[in-house]
Amino acid sequence: MRPALHAEWTKARTVAGPLWLLLGTIAATVALSAGAVSVARCPCGDMAEVSLIGVDLGQALVVILAVLVIAGEYGTGMIRTTLTAMPHRSTVLAAKAAVLTGIVAAAGTVAVLGSLLAGRLILPGHVQPLTDGPTLRTALAAILYLTLIALLGLGVATAVRDSATSIGTVLGLLYVFPVLSQTIGDQHWQRLLQRITPMPDHLGVTAAWAGAALLSGALLLHLRDA
C-alpha cells in the first residue's frame, strides 16, 4: 500500500490541474460565503451557516478534481500503465481515495476557515468564533462533507470511466435533486427527495452515497478489462 500511496501522491503533485482546482475550491467557497454574508439582512442571530454557503459552490470544483483523478487516466489510456505497475486494483483505488481525501480535507479546511473569517470580518459579532461548540460542529461538518463529495466523485468516475459523464452525473445529483424537490408537487416525494439529497447537514446520507459509489466502482474496476 505504501508504494501505491507514494505513486498516487507523486501523480497528484506533478500536474498543475489538482493544485488549481484546490485553489479554485478555496476561492469559490470563500467568495460566495463572503457575498452571502454581506447581503444578509440583520439582526440575524448566528450566521455560521450562512457564512459557509460557499461550500455549495466549492463542491463543484471538488467533484471535477475527484473525477479527473481516475477518469483522466481512462481518457489518456494511462490507466493501463497504472494497472500494469500496480496490478492489485483495489489497492490502486484505495491509494487514490486516500490521497484525494488528504488534499480535499486540507483545502476544505482552508476554505471553511476562510469563509468563517470573512463572515466575522464582514459582520462582527454575528459569526461566533470556532471555540463556540455549534460553530465548530458546522465547520467540521462542512469539511467532512467536501471530502465525502470527493469520494463520491471518485467512485462514480471509477464506475463510469468518462470525465464528462461522471461530472454530469455527480453535479446532477448535487444540484438537480434540491431543485426537483422544490418543484415537485407531491409532499411525500418532496420529503423523500430532500431526505436523500447529499448536503452538509445530511452527513449520513452523503456518506452512504459516497460509500455506495466507491463500492460499485471498486467492484467494476475489479471485474472489467482495463
Binding site: 508504494p3 501505491a4 507514494h6 489518456t76 493501463r80 500503465t81 500494469t84 496490478p87 478489462d225
Partner: protein, 293 residues
C-alpha cells in the same frame, strides 16, 4: 534463491500443471525449497490455450507460445489476429475465459512490484500530456519502491535526456516511444514486452531500437516484440510467433521459417509471412467482416 510456485488454474499449460507440486489447488506462494528447477525452467513468458470472446467475436482461440530468455521473439500477424489482446492478457489487464499466461511461472496479477519482473510498452497507454516525462517515470518508480536515481538512469538509457523535463503532451510519437521504453526498463526486468515499438520512430530511432532489442536479448532477457514490419523482424528477431485468427499459426526460429519457405530461391520473411497469413487475412476480409459488425 526463492523458488516460485505457480498457482494451478484449470486448463493451464503443461509447465504450470507440472510445477503445481504436491498440493493441488493451493494458491501460489513464495517459499524456499529445493525443488526449484521447475520454476526456473520456465522463465520468460509461457502462454497456454488463451481463449477470449468480445461479444460474438472470438478474439483469442487457443493462443499458445512461449518466449525464451536470451532471444528476441517477434510477434506478428494481421490486424485483429489477437496480438494486442494477448499482450494485455499477459499483463493482467484483460481476463480470459480459458488458459494461462505466466511470467517466470507466475500470473502477472500475482507479482509484487511487477516492473521488476516485466517491463512493458503498450501502444494505447499514453502518459498524461501535462506531466513531464521525468515525472511520469518518477511516479512509476515510486509505485515500485524505486527512487529517482533509477529514473535518471533509464532516461539516459532511452536517450530521453533532452526532453525529460518537458511536458509529455508536446512529445513526438518517437519521443513517446522512448519514454515508454524508459518505463519498461525502470525495474531492470528479465522479461520485456513491447507492442509496436518501431511505430513513429525516425530512421535514427529505428537503428537505436534495433540495437536496444539485440542488447536486451544478449543480456539474457526474454524479449517479446509485436510488429508489422517484417523487414525489421527479419533483422532483429531470433524467433517468430505468427498470430492469425486468435491463435499461433507458426512458432519457429526466423532462420527455419525462411529456409522452409525459400527452398533456395531467396524468400524474405515478408514472403513467408504473407504465405502463412493469407488464409487468416482472407478469412477476415471476406464475408465475415461485415457479419461481425
Amino acid at each position: 534463491m526463492p523458488c516460485v510456485r505457480p498457482c494451478q488454474i484449470p486448463g493451464s499449460s503443461r509447465v504450470a500443471a507440472a510445477a503445481t507440486g504436491p498440493e493441488p489447488g493451493a494458491a501460489y506462494n513464495l517459499r524456499h525449497e529445493s525443488n526449484c528447477e521447475l520454476a526456473l525452467s520456465a522463465p520468460g513468458i509461457v502462454v497456454a490455450g488463451l481463449r477470449k470472446r468480445y461479444g460474438t467475436v472470438l478474439a483469442l482461440d487457443g493462443m499458445s507460445f512461449s518466449v525464451r530468455p536470451g532471444q528476441v521473439t517477434g510477434f506478428v500477424g494481421p490486424n485483429g489476429a489477437g496480438k494486442s489482446t494477448t499482450m494485455r492478457v499477459i499483463l493482467g489487464l484483460d481476463a480470459v475465459e480459458e488458459g494461462t499466461a505466466l511470467i517466470g511461472g507466475l500470473p502477472y496479477r500475482g507479482l509484487r512490484h511487477p516492473l521488476h519482473h516485466v517491463g512493458s510498452l503498450l501502444d494505447a497507454a499514453a502518459p498524461h500530456p501535462g506531466r513531464s516525462g521525468r515525472n511520469h517515470l518518477l511516479w512509476l518508480a515510486h509505485s515500485q519502491g524505486l527512487d529517482v536515481r533509477r529514473v535518471d538512469r533509464v532516461i539516459e538509457q532511452a536517450g530521453l535526456a533532452p526532453a525529460a523535463r518537458r511536458k509529455a503532451g508536446g512529445y513526438s510519437l518517437g519521443m513517446r516511444q522512448r519514454l515508454g521504453i524508459a518505463a519498461a526498463l525502470l525495474g531492470d526486468p528479465p522479461v520485456v514486452l513491447l507492442d509496436e515499438p518501431f511505430n513513429g520512430m525516425d530512421p535514427d530511432g529505428i537503428v537505436w531500437m534495433r540495437g536496444l532489442l539485440r542488447s536486451l536479448a544478449s543480456e539474457g532477457r526474454a524479449v517479446l516484440v509485436s510488429s508489422h514490419l517484417m523487414g525489421e523482424m527479419q533483422h532483429t528477431a531470433d524467433h517468430l510467433v505468427v498470430a492469425g485468427r486468435g491463435r499461433a499459426i507458426a512458432d519457429a526460429s526466423v532462420a527455419e521459417l525462411i529456409a522452409a519457405a525459400s527452398r533456395g530461391n531467396g524468400a524474405t520473411l515478408e514472403d513467408v509471412y504473407l504465405r502463412l497469413t493469407r488464409e487468416a487475412v482472407e478469412f477476415r476480409t471476406g464475408t465475415s467482416t461485415e457479419d461481425r459488425k
